[in-house]
Symmetry: C2
DNA sequence: TAAGATTTGTTCGTATGTATC
DNA sequence: GGATACATACGAACAAATCTT
């Protein structure tokens, strides 16, 4: 039961002390089953326990902080605590992985087309009125057609937030993260690559109708219909974005 | 074009100096379009440029190292370099995110069933003979039915490697990562939760037949058939694993 | 093989900043 | 406001790794 955890393959090669300390602390957290918010030993105690200097211990804590596993507060009652690893941070860290790799619009939409209709079907009939209202509230951000390119971008980002939010409502954390991650990539592309430069009234109307129909299907528990609508919606969005000729994700995120 | 990159929302709150330095270095890498392997300024130069102490600079580098963005070597010709962010590291960092969350076997298989048949269909007719041979080589690890629980686990891990490898062969980095990530989670479950305790000759035979048929379909470029086989294979695997009653992923990975 | 040069790794002492009581 | 408890930051010295000669 108390299985020794595997180390990263790179750990077999000579690593410096901060890495060993960081690994030891992680193992300690796992063994004791510590939860986010739980207190970790303070600097002074770690210095003593590991027999290392303050600087080395601090570097180890930085390694853990960068991963979101540890948070630190100064002052009385302060110290180090087990962290949450927020969805935002996980998204940022994974974003770094794709920074040097080519991810095309088509790559993303292959996945969105496979996953989002499935999510919509599963969610039908399982959303609270409050959740449905939240989705409708997001749609208010693009209740009117965009007047210029800038507003068009803002609206597109808002409509991606619609999908990200929807992905949070399911009970499959893995599916929710994947979908949210793709929405984030597309948001970045829209914002940093200055995508969506030409407002198109026809497409705006179609997209908005998709989403209103989708909410109706979700509210009435019609899974098959929700799936269909999302499928059409995704295909339209893909065609739209591909026309924009944006091909690469180039971004570093997070701290 | 030289868009300023957004900082992590948490960065707006007061952060300590190492975080600011780390952000500055990331921006620097982005602005200059540096590639993995490219040289970064040495400690001494950074100390001077930022006007901060050695310790502070070193903590900043640890933050970047933990993300895989920077690698460091000692000795002459040593120093800091832009890192790769390997698939293994990205997998480990994302694994941390799910450590405190519940991910069920069913969650994973919903995704595998949606994604892997799609991958198989796309790959059909596009694999080199060397790649097909590599898959066949992996299958050698379970050419004979397992004699005991321990061997059964080893075989299951090997068959997951089959899927992970297959996901590398596609040209969709996003899809490849997602599938590989799930294979890793399942591998961890198998190894650390001591899954697969009862060898089953019938299922072994079926699973193996699926994979041989799959390779044949891939070789002959029969996408529809490859999709069907993978679909059946996934459904069988799901039923098998759910019978094992393992429900949670509990693991910290990486350094 | 050995010595020297270069660059990161580690320590220790001290001082400062920050949040709580 | 002052005392307390904690992380944060600095600087100088020394250790270890690794490349060159």
């Amino acid at each position: 039961m108390a299985d020794p955890l595997p180390q990263d393959p790179a750990n077999r090669t000579r690593r410096s002390r901060p890495f060993h300390v960081a690994d030891a602390i992680k193992d300690w957290v796992v063994e004791r089953g510590l939860q986010p918010g739980d207190r970790l030993p303070g600097e002074a105690e770690l210095i003593e326990r590991f027999g290392m200097s303050k600087g080395t211990i601090r570097e180890a804590m930085r390694l853990l902080q960068a991963q979101g596993l540890v948070e630190t507060k100064t002052g009385p009652g302060g110290g180090s605590f087990v962290g949450e690893v927020t969805r935002e941070r996980a998204t940022a860290l994974l974003g770094n992985y794709f920074y040097f790799r080519d991810v095309t619009i088509d790559d993303i939409y292959q996945l969105r087309i496979a996953l989002e209709p499935m999510l919509a079907a599963r969610l039908a009939g399982h959303l609270s009125e409050a959740q449905l209202a939240e989705l409708e509230a997001i749609m208010e951000d693009y209740a009117r057609p965009a007047a210029d390119a800038e507003e068009e971008r803002r609206q597109h980002v808002a409509s991606l937030r619609f999908h990200a939010r929807l992905s949070d409502f399911g009970d499959n954390a893995l599916l929710g993260f994947f979908i949210g991650f793709m929405a984030q990539i597309l948001t970045d592309l829209t914002v940093y690559k200055r995508l969506y430069t030409s407002p198109n009234h026809d497409l705006w109307e179609k997209g908005r109708r998709h989403q209103t129909d989708l909410i109706a299907a979700l509210r009435h528990g019609d899974g098959a219909r929700a799936r269909e609508i999302m499928q059409s919606h995704m295909e339209m969005a893909r065609d739209l974005m591909e026309a924009q000729q944006a091909e690469v994700l180039k971004r570093f995120i997070a701290e």
